[in-house]
Structure formats: C-alpha cells, structure tokens
C-alpha cells in the first residue's frame, strides 16, 4: 500500500473521505476465504479447509479426521476453521472544546487556514464507519461532550455506508462543526453497549479514565487526533503569548516552547503514556494529524497489538 500511494503522495488525512475504503484485513484478504464481516470468531469449528488442526478428541466427527495425515503420522488430527461474523463496532468521538482548535483566531495570526482537529476526527470517524459497514459489521457512533462522563451524550445513527456518505457530505457543507454533528445525533438512551471493538477518537487533552472502555470491549484502539500545529511548534514566535486558560492558567512565550525541544519531549512523553495505557489493556494506539499520509494512517490501522 505504501508503494501504491507513495510517501510523498499528496493524499493526507485532511483529505480523507469515507469512500476511500480499504480492507482492514487487506493482507489476509488474499489468503483467507471470507464472506461476511471483519471479525473472526474465537470459536473454531472442524473443517476440511486446513486453517487449524488439533488432535482428535472423542466426539469429533469421524468423517472429518484427516486420514491422510493419520496414515503418515499415525496420529488422528482434526482440521478446524474459525467462522467470521459481524463485529459490533463502537466509534467514540471526543467532542471537547479543544477539538475545535485551530480556531479562527489562530488563522488570523498565522494567515493560513489549517483544518481543525474536529474535522480530522470526523473524517477518520466516517472513514472507519464506512469501512466497517462495508465489511458487514454493525457500527455505532457516540459523541462525548462532557469531560468526566462514562456515558456518551449523543449517538449518531449510521446504519449503512450510504448513511455515512450522506453524513459526510452534510458535514462537509457545514464545514465540520461540533454542533452540526450533534444535531444529527440523538440523545435518548445513550448507554454504551458492550461490543467487540471500540475506537476512541480524541485529542486526549481532556483527561479521562478508560477503564469502562476496556471493560466493555474486547479490543480497543485510540486514534489520537492532533493538529500538526501541536506536534510541530516551529511556527511559534515571540510575537505572541501561548496560553491555555482551560484548567491551569499558563502562559508562555515561543522561545520557552522551543527552548531545548522541551515541548517536543513533553508531547512525546504524553503520547507514550496513551500508547502504553491502551497496549496494556490489549488495545492499539495511533496518532493522526492532518498531515499524516493516508497510507500511513491505513497501515497503522492494520497493526494490531
């Protein structure tokens, strides 16, 4: 895939759309016969298709004993294969205030328009939803607007991939604002169901405990969406003060942020913290910025722990 798009390909996540669909198990696609869903069940069933094999246990169908192998090795083996099923996918999107950055004020200061983290997150969300729906999975999308809440505030109904495309066009017209997506969602009974796979799409700035996520889902993945202006601070200068008045009132000059790569180190330590947290829970982590090439994004998506 990397070769297909190339490292210098212009396609970046900022241009990611749901239609750009790639099989999440692309590599295995060529090797295994799959008909439905992206999820491989843990329950194996004896099969002539030699995917797995084990010793014969009394009660197994006799006609499925690999007699050829018995003739060779004098051991009775049973061939097994695992069925695939519709996975229950939940995509969680953090709608914190920090997701709306970079804002208009920064655009004025820089003179360049950079897509907000929210836009990137929505693009990733719709892309993921599209992929999973195409694979036959059931996808539920939830929005979190409150910082310390385990229950989502909104659920965006997406039943088919055409719903995804429709929503994408709506959001594109509305220039990807939190309010517009919330309008599409409904806030009835939003209790989070348990499922097979959960994506947590967030910038991670709003601190949360993910224990509830790890308990409900067998596999989790955090897609941390940051702006390239946050990951690379070369653009900062001493003309301005850089602050955040959300929780702690702090104010820095550009020189301080750039001094001795202090900012960069702190940022990496923070990302590492998330990476370890999700990996310890058996999940995955990847960082996405608007400058991340789509190929890299897709490749990272395929890496499971």
């Amino acid at each position: 895939m990397r070769e297909e798009f190339g490292e210098n390909h212009l396609s970046r996540v900022k241009d990611l759309s749901p239609g750009l669909s790639w099989d999440l198990s692309f590599k295995r696609y060529k090797n295994v016969m799959r008909y439905q869903g992206s999820h491989i069940l843990a329950l194996r069933r004896p099969s002539r298709t030699p995917a797995f094999s084990r010793k014969y246990v009394k009660g197994d169908p006799v006609h499925l004993i690999d007699w050829k192998s018995f003739a060779r090795t004098d051991q009775m083996l049973i061939r097994e294969q695992r069925d695939e099923a519709s996975a229950r996918i939940v995509i969680c999107l953090d709608a914190s205030d920090t997701m709306q950055w970079p804002d208009e004020r920064l655009h004025e200061v820089l003179g360049v328009k950079v897509p907000s983290k929210w836009e990137i997150a929505v693009r990733v969300l719709l892309n993921l939803a599209y992929i999973h729906l195409n694979l036959g999975d059931t996808v539920r999308v939830y929005l979190w607007t409150r910082p310390e809440s385990a229950a989502p505030d909104f659920q965006v109904p997406l039943a088919t991939s055409s719903d995804v495309l429709k929503l994408y066009h709506i959001e594109e017209d509305r220039q990807f604002s939190i309010s517009s997506l919330c309008e599409e969602g409904r806030n009835g009974d939003n209790s989070l169901p348990s499922g097979d796979y959960a994506y947590w799409i967030s910038d991670g700035i709003t601190r949360r405990s993910f224990d509830w996520l790890f308990e409900r889902f067998r596999l989790t993945r955090m897609i941390q969406v940051l702006s390239s202006l946050e990951t690379q601070v070369d653009w900062v200068s001493d003309e301005h003060c850089y602050f955040d008045e959300g929780i702690v009132k702090k104010e820095y000059l550009g020189a301080i942020l750039k001094y001795g790569k202090a900012y960069r180190q702190k940022l990496e330590a923070w990302q590492q913290e998330y990476r370890q947290k999700f990996r310890h829970a058996g999940g995955g982590y990847q960082l996405v910025t608007e400058q991340t090439p789509i190929a890299t994004y897709m490749e990272d998506l395929l890496i499971f722990p």
Binding site: V109, D238, C241, D244, L253, K266, W270
Partner: protein, 882 residues
Amino acid sequence: MGPINFGLLSTQIGAASAMLAFSALLGWAIWWFVRKRRQRVWLPTLRIMELESRRLPKLRVIPPPWLMFLCFVLASLALIIFGLRPSQQVFTPFEPSQNRIHFFLDLSPSVSASTSVEAYRQKVQEVFANMEGKGRITATTSLSGDIFESASRDQLKEWLQTQDIHRAGLKLGVTLRKQIETLGDIDRLFIFSDEDQSSWDGFNWQFLMDDMEIVHVVLPHDRPNTKTNLYVDRATFLSSQSSLTMDWDVEVAVSGTTDGASGQLQAALEGGDTLATVPFSIPGGRDRASVTISWPASAVRVPEDKESPNLVFTVSSGSEDAIMLDNSFRTNLLGAKQEVLLVAESGGEMILEDAGHHLKSTLEVLGFRVKRLDRFPEKDISTEQYPLWIILGGGSSSMNEFCPQQIERERLQRWANAGEGTIRSGGKLPMIWLAPINPDVNFQNLCWCFAKLVMTDTAKAPMPEYCEDVTARDPWIGVLSSLGAKQVGGQMSDMFQSLAWHIKDKSQSLEVSAFTIPLQPGQVGGLSYAGLPLVVRTLLQWNGLLQGDPSLRLESWPRLSDPVTLETDALPQQLSLDKIRLTNVPIGESRMLVALSQSLPPQWSNQFDGVRRETASRKDQNDPMPWLFLCSILVLAAVYVEGIFKGITSILRMASRRKEVLALLLSLPLWDRADAQVKVVTLGDRPFTQTLSSMAREVAARTSIDLDANVQHGNEADDSAQAAPWLWADGLSKITGKGGTMTPGMVAWLKRGGFLIIQRAASDEELQKLTANSAIRLDDNEGWRTIPPDHELMRSFHLLESLPACPGQMWRGFHFDGRLGILVIPHDFLSSIGDQPQAVACLKKGTFERDVRVFINILMVALTTDYKKDQIHLPEILKRLR
C-alpha cells in the same frame, strides 16, 4: 551630599534630586519595557504540559510614541538639572566705592588672656591700612552693634580708644547674625578674634561664605603666654536672718593647669571697704575649691532708701593669671540688717516687767538691729537711719516723752510745701507703730499722740476733743475707726477684735499703725510667747520692711554669655543696666578652651597682596521655578495621556461590563451613609393622624435608628405594609378574616419575621381565636403569655421596671418561632406618645421619658428580637453594665 563643581558651575545633590532622578529613570524603563503587550494565542496542549516557566522571557524593546517620549525625557532631564540647584560663582569686579569691608571686633574677656588692648588696637589699624582704599570699611564690636564707618586712620584710632574689653561673653554666630541684619550686603568680613571655643561654638560661617568672604584675623599674643586662669565660679549665702555674721560659700576654680592654685579671696562692697579676706588653696589635681568667708553683720550698714551695694568677691594669686576680668565676681548683698527704733519706758530690770523686752528679742530674731530708747531725746533722730519707729506709750511717762515731736514738725512742713507747690524734699518718713505699753494705759495720751502724728494741722495743738472720751480700748478703737484708719487683724465684722489700725497722712509720706493691744505676750492682749514673733513678722512683711525667705529674695547676678541680649527688649525686668554691664564673666570664657583651627575661617595674613581686583560672591542663577513648573506640566501631560486617557478609554471599552459600570457610576452620586430608617405603619379603622416628631428625635438621639416622624396608615393588603418590619394594629378588625382568625397574608408576614403590635385589644378569647391558624405551629412554652418582668421587652434597650397599663390590664405577647411575634398593648399607646398626646383616662399619668423608653424597647424587639441572647454581644453588654 556635597557639591559637585564643574568649573564655576556647582550643583547641590540632595536626597530630593536623587529621588527625582531615580523616578525619571524608572519612568523611562517602564515606558520602553512594560508598554509591550503581546497578542495571546490559545495552544490547547499547554493544558497537559508541565513546562518550566521560570525561564525569563527575553525582553524586547518596543519604541514608544516618539513625540510624547521626547517631551517626557526632556521634562524629566530638566527637572533633574534644575532640581540640583545649579549655581555659579560670579566674580564681580572690584570697585572701591561699591565694595563693603567690615571689621568685627571681638572684645570678649577671653581676648584679654593673650592680647593687650593696645596690641589689639594696633592690629586693627594694621589691617585697616591694608584694606584702605579697597572699599568702604565699617566696623562694629561685639559689645555694640553701632556701625562705625571710618574715612581715615585717625578716625579709626580715635574710635578704637573708646573700645575696651567687656565682661560679657560672646557667641559669634548669634551676634553676627544680629549685626548682619543691619549691616546689609558685605563683600568681605574680617573677624578680629581669638580661637576661643566658647565664642566660635555654633557659628556656621560656611553658610555666610555664599554671600561674602570671611577672614579670621588672628590677634597678636603680646601678653605672658599662660593658660592658667583663676576665677570665681559661684557664691552662696549661708547665714540665717538672725545670724550675727554674714557667711558665704565661694567656689574658686582654676583652669588650664592641674597643679592647683593658692591665693587670697577678698570680699568687699562695691566701691566700699573690704569686709573680709581669707586665703584659699586649690590642691593639685583639682580644679576648684570651696572657700567659706564671713564677716560681722554689723560691718554692713544699708540705709533704708538706698539700693543695697553689690558684694564683690575677688580672687588673687601670686602666680600668673590669664584673664583678670573673671577674678572678680559680683553678687547681691544678702543678709544686711535694718535698724529699728524702739521707744518704751523701762518697766524695771526684770525681764517680765519690761514691756519692750519681748518685742526687742522678736525683732532681733527677725534680723533687725534694735535701738532701744526710754523716751525721745530732745535732739532729732535721723529718719533715714531707722525705717521703723515703734512707740510703746500711754504709760506713766507724759505724752511729750513718748510721742516724737519731730515727726509732727516734719509732717507739717511737708504739708506746707505741698500746698505751696514746692518740690517735696527729703526721704520718706519712717513707719511708726504706736502701741499701748500695757493693757491699762492712758488711752487719752495715746490718742493725743496719734493725732499729733497724723491728724493735727498746727504744731503744739491741745488735745483734740475726740480724745477726751478715750478712756479704754473700745473708745480708742472707735476713735481710730472714725478717723479713717483701716482695720488690721481680727474679723472685719467685729472691729473690737482688731489688732491695729493703719492710716497714712494726706501727703502719703507717713504711715502709722495704731495698735489696740500691747505688743507683748499676755493674757489680756491674747498674744502668746510663740505668737508674738509670728504676728510681728507678718506685720513687718505687710509693711514691706521684711521680705520672706532669704533664698526667695536671692537675686541671681547676671552672667551674660552673649552681648546681644544687652540690646534686646527681652531682658528680665529686674536686671538693671549696671548689673548687665558688670555681668560676671561666663564660665565658657573663663575656661579658655581653644577651637580647632580646621573649624575656623581662613586666616588673614600680612603677606596677602591685597591686589586682588575682584571679590568672590556666589550668585544663584535665575529662578528655576518657572522652568520646574513647565517641566512638571509636561510630565503631568505625559502621565495624563499615557495613563489616565488610556485608563478611561479602557473602562469605556468594557462593553461586556457596561451595566455594572453604569450601575457603579450611578451609585456614586447616590452614596449615602448606611443607616436604618424605620417607619411606623398603622392598621385600623380610624387613621392615625398625629406625627411622631418628638419621639423620632429621641430615638435618633439615643440609638442609631432613624425613625420617620410621619406615620403611614396602611392596608393589610398593601405591599408597603407587608414590607414593614412592624405593624401597629388598632384593634383586630383589619387583621382578622372570617371567624376571627388572622388573615393568611398576616400569618405569612408574621412567619417571615414581622412584628405585630395590637393596641386596644379585646379579650383573651378573641386573641386565642386570632392565632388559631393551623399555619402557626407552636412549640412548648409558646403561645399567648403575659409579658413577664424579665421579658426581653423589659431590657432590650432600656431597663424597664414596669409597663404602663390601666389597673387590671396586662400587656400580652404571642410567642412563636422562638420570639415575640405579637405584642398586645391594652390601651392606645401610640396616641399617648404622639406630638399631641392623648391621655388615657384610666392610666396613671406617666412621664414622656417612660413612654420613650417603652417605645424604644418595642422598636428594638421588633428589629432585633432578643439580640442579647446572642453570645456575640455578651462582651459589649458586660462592658456597658460595668
């Protein structure tokens, strides 16, 4: 800080100019650095960053608005420069006709230690010769501020012959300040003086250097070079009044040596004989010695109407002595005896038989010298020698023997002279005491003598008719009273208790005191042995012949340390000019301490060429005040534009807070002191038409509560009535609904904290019905109760003993919610305290004060309930109770 000299320009750096410079520099720095304001950019990731913020941001200089900044810099620079008080030394060209040279001659006693008067005069003439033709030369001395201007050396020489060393000390600073006021502008001041520290002490001649050149002319040392100086430090009178000797303790001191000194101390009257001479010796290592010197009191005779001579103590020693002037020390003569003439016929040789014996002893004890005569001699007695004549007459001797004919003669002579208009000659006539020699005297003779002394118009007149009936003390007193004498002693209402009668003759030169009792101890006269001296002393003091305690009449002789006081009007009244001139030499001069040469002005030397054609004088530049004023305006304008204008505009820009700012601005003019205003609101069928002006005044005077004098007649449904803290209901009609229970509105108001006062209430049943509302929940001990004597109503402000009520009627209260909610007053209380009080028929007439106290207590309960239960008020309550 000292001056900084830039060539001829010098500046004074003071604390004020240093502060000014510092604040200006601070202003510049603030202008350049603090004005910087960066745009703020939100960077959300900083929320989770733990960056070290201690690294200081790099300061960046942003240019200020140049015009304003330039004005500010210029103004502050100018402020600093002018604040340094720049001054330039200007050398004015030498012009003999315009330059003033002044000689100040120090003639204080210390000068005489090293310089003779002749050498002094020579020195002055020598300097004069040098300065002649270089300006107008004037001269003054330390003794006199009279300005002498000399045109020639001869004139100066002549003037110098009249000057000599004076006895007073000199303080150069004080004297020159006084003299320079009258001398005007001087270019060069020559001070002829020695280096005596006492003279130079406190003289800040550097201050005068701004205006003139000051030269110290050192006087020639032509006297024997000795530092030893002997002087009298002080003298103390030791004797008592009755002493026969005059004893003085004189302290002789020596300075400039530790070898001690010896010599003689002489006491003498000023211009008179030597009284005593004693040797003295100051041992080595000591600088003073006390010497007691005494002489017989009889050696000093002081005539009555002459001023007593001064006493002069003089020390002399064989060795060298620097200052001769301080060897003599003057003081007042104390303890001198006055003479009294006592004429009394002798009663016998026994003391008890002699009528004059005790009086004579008394007078001697009081310090008088008594001359005792049995009768007046034919020859006249000096009236000046004896200021007091005491005549004890009326005994067996004839009138002519005890009555002095001489007095009558002299008195008549004076009367005659006064009538002819001639000048009165001769001194004052003596004071005469005329007393009966014993209780049983011939009062006719006594009366006759009295008449001859004071009353008669012709000499040798016969006994007056009014004396013929004087046979005893009482007629004697009557005659004295009728002759115009004034009573002495006894009670004014009872002249027969009088001790004596005092009269002056019409020429006011003769005073006679006629006694009514003998001047001797005895049962009849009532004088005891102890009382006689006291009575006589009191009378003598009253007559002015005896002064009080000798220490009180000790008139300290002046010791002037500075002759300026000679010319001031502030001299003590009792100091006569003689005493000032003959002042004792001040100790500062006598001690002969030498001032440090560094502290003295530059010395004049003979090698001075005198050709310098210019004289230095310091002249301030033009007044810097207008410039300082202009600079201040510039600085203020800069501050205004930068600070005030920006501040105002930023306030105006506070659009989001516009309401608050507007409310704040509007509230400013309406600012008023916080006070509590209470209005009486009545409810009832008949409106309350009176006002409560008197009550409001009393309430305001006693409490901090402002009671409205106008009474509001309300309706129960009114919002205003519902908002009032209390309501005065007249009867129950307005507050009850159907069935006689309280209306729900009233119940709600009561539960909110309202206080209801019901006047002229009806029976207990009606009241019970009134509060029978299920909405009012009662705890134990709550409900209707009679107001007990220890109720909070009785002590909320004033301590009340009882409440005014008609016989058989009680004040009741409805208690609920832990407080008094309804107060029932049996009569119309409000009408009885209005400005037109209406008496309640059955009520015992009380005072307005009682009603005021009751009203204030009700008011307090209405506003505060029982605040005294609150422990926080306990300290204040206890303080008031104590």
